[in-house]
Symmetry: C2
Subunit: 474 residues, 2 copies
């Protein structure tokens, strides 16, 4: 792993390709009311949860079927105009920005659950289905879809960014949970990757090539994912610690002992304060681990006892239990709202999120030094982490009227990524590269590997129309 | 999924490219004693466990380092001569045959465990390390590497074929367990994919593109895989059933209930007889499930009680337990030797193995009809299955002096694959495509997806030197 040597990347290079009127006319003719060129609609589709901005796309197509997507891509290909797939807009790294112009293909109306195969623990959905909707629709089967990135993201978007979140420590990420895809390629062809079999050695793993490709290789139009039986018993607990270090060392030991914990989330004291202010929760204002145990009643009891023992050795307090579904929902909602709680703590702020992930033994080294640096910088921040996976997020809360704050935050991020790479980790555990981490990707993977990605991209999308300008430069 | 429409593929098309003397001279100059052109050595490297044959490679390079591999590939690239990576030769689908000529790059001397990171549950190895060697070398850490395809395969080869085996039902396949790779590309460049972080969204998933690419995109020269804490308790049990159907229906229910069983293997009565004759085991000659439970003592007890209850409902007998490591080893050795036991039951026979994998609810449909067909054919066969994953293998035992038997066996295989594809399964759960399933792959994935694979291959290996003629036609 090389330390990042590129200059700090502050703003995306914007190099717009013009959208010919003839394409807009053809889109209007084909899509009628499903095609909008209204500024407000375009602006809504030209941003995400990142702090970047770029001129909006020239048009938005509201696709209602795979055929709609294929036709939109074919027309765009004919005119060599970029296509940016859009789910619900919750991505964090500038993925949705039309930095090279083009059209947005919104798949949110493709929101049907197509086939629940409860006996096989699989479900096939359209890309606009959100994770909450999916769980609502499969509820009666006694199964659930565990991947939970916080936002009520679309399954298509979660596939495209290789999302994960709080449950990944036990259930894996989208990488492990997508079985098969339908994809509209850059030429507008419809292909299928994978089957509903749990495993396969049938040729190149196109499914996993598409998962995490951030819309740069095609538009995902159908996804088959794994489901899991709802555990017989679920218990959530909060445990407070005297320091972040104590919480982190507890986590490391939990993982090293192979405890099949379902969730283990770090929330630092800053963030607990923000969450309390936002949601009136009255949580004890100390660093905490928010944990969840899944299994049979006996197994949950065993896991919890072992983890309590480990925590106590590190000065952790007695567990505060949430055993009813309502109490659990309240806790996890608080966790998921930490982002909004943080934003509200500094009205008008912009957030720069970090997303490093390191091998578990390196977690304390990576995290504690970065906390010290963030504290010293004076920039307000929140800190939450899927620490069981070695993944955590600082959110630096910037006053956009003070440009120096952005510079400082990017320096903090740069130092953090350098540290994570030196510790054999990654610059992005789950958010993706987008616009923001293109230089970091080169530092992490090396020019040779990024060049291999680029070679694949050029072969599969020779006109560079699929979400161009993201992940790596052309 | 389309039913296979291609003609039955009986023998690989052999279209040898000449190896210029100048290349052989250059290899001799660079590699001296590490380069062999002895016929016996070449023949040893020109076959695998499949029933195919082709003329052997022109030379064998015994690589001792990544640099050796890179130099060999660079020289081969210069002369546009094929390179076939070789681990220990245990692949099953003709992967190692020099159907287009070329040189074999044997990595078995690259057999060092490079870094055991016990605290992170990862280990980094050279490609020639075998799975048994790996487990031996990490034993003292209290960790183990679960992937077990039966043969004592090399970790490089297992990565290249996306292998799995008996433990995959709980621990996943090589797809889920490889974290990072070092790869020599078709141009002889050395790249790294992935990091030691447990998850990442950093660009295209080159790791998983390489895993399962069967040597057609590069030579794997280093692999980082996950390790797991040795379970506190392990128990194995044999359960006999009145019929294959009863055993299969028991398996389906175990999986649907989400029991975290570590292994659940079907062995049909034919195969039990063969194993008894081979290893003098005295197993009851009835269809059986061979199971293993991992966890805390309580959890193992809970799992076993639940599975015994399910089995009893389907007429399963009382479990016959193997609780000591020795007794377990004996049972699993018997399972792993079933292939050799079967071969010995018909001396001089050749084996055609099937490898379909279907969604678990379709397992009975897929398996029982195929058993009926195999019984009706009169060809002797063995039948074992990683049934918890929906994956099973018929091994048709052919007398090579009776060509009609091969035709019959291929017809059985063809009918089985057609059935598996119609049931939303795959033609290969774990063996790979190699030479034998190229037509099936087109039926399974569709021409569009195979064409995408071909486009990637052409972009990354424009001279078509990396194990050409495998997976798909150029």
């Amino acid at each position: 792993m090389n330390a990042p040597t590129q200059p700090i990347h502050l703003l995306p290079e914007i190099c717009q390709r013009a959208t010919p009127q003839a394409l807009l006319d053809a889109l209007k003719a084909r899509f009628a009311q499903q095609c909008s060129t209204a500024l407000v609609v375009r602006e809504q589709h030209g941003r995400d949860e990142s702090s970047f901005s770029a001129p909006p796309p020239s048009a938005v197509i509201f696709a209602e079927s795979t055929l709609d997507v294929a036709d939109a891509v074919r027309l765009a290909s004919e005119f060599e105009v970029p296509v940016i797939p859009f789910g619900i807009g919750s991505s964090l790294e500038g993925h949705l920005l039309a930095v090279q112009g083009g059209i947005s293909v919104d798949v949110s109306r493709m929101n049907k659950v197509l086939a629940v195969n409860a006996d096989d623990l699989t479900v096939t959905v359209q890309p606009g289905v959100t994770r909450k909707q999916l769980n609502e629709e499969v509820k009666s089967t006694g199964l659930f879809f565990p991947i939970d990135p916080g936002a009520d993201a679309s399954i298509g978007g979660m596939s495209a960014t290789r999302a994960s979140g709080t449950n990944a420590v036990r259930y894996g990420t989208m990488r492990e949970n997508v079985l098969a895809l339908e994809v509209v390629t850059a030429s507008g062809e419809v292909i299928r990757t994978g089957t509903r079999a749990k495993k396969s050695s049938a040729g190149y793993d196109l499914t996993r090539l598409m998962v995490g490709s951030e819309g740069t290789l095609g538009v995902i139009t159908e996804i088959t994912v794994k489901l899991y039986p709802l555990p017989e018993a679920i218990s959530a607990a909060v445990c407070n610690f005297p320091s972040i270090e104590a919480a982190v060392r507890t986590t490391i030991q939990i993982i090293q002992l192979g405890v099949p914990i379902a969730r283990v989330e770090l929330i630092d004291v800053n963030t607990v304060r923000m969450v309390n202010a936002y949601a009136k929760l009255g949580l004890r204002e100390e660093p905490m681990l928010l944990m969840e145990f899944h299994g049979t009643p006996n197994s949950v009891k065993e896991q919890a006892e072992l983890v309590q023992e480990i925590a106590s050795e590190h000065g952790g307090k007695a567990f505060d239990w949430a055993t009813t579904p309502e109490a659990r929902t309240k806790l996890w909602t608080a966790r998921h709202n930490s982002y909004f709680a943080a934003v509200q703590s500094r009205p008008g702020c912009k957030v720069i999120s970090t997303d490093t992930c390191v091998p578990i033994s390196r977690l304390a080294d990576c995290l504690l030094d970065s906390v010290a640096e963030a504290d010293a910088s004076g920039i307000p921040y929140f800190l939450v982490g899927h620490v069981g996976d070695g993944n955590f997020h600082f959110g630096y809360l910037l006053d956009p009227s003070i440009p120096q704050e952005r510079v400082t935050a990017e320096k903090l991020n740069h130092a953090l990524v350098s540290r994570a790479l030196a510790l054999e980790g990654t610059c992005t555990g789950e958010h993706g590269v987008g616009l923001h981490k293109m230089d970091f990707l080169v530092s992490e993977a090396g020019a040779g590997a990024v060049n291999m990605m680029r070679t694949i991209k050029r072969a599969l999308d020779p006109k560079n129309i699929m979400n161009p300008g993201k992940i790596f430069s052309w």
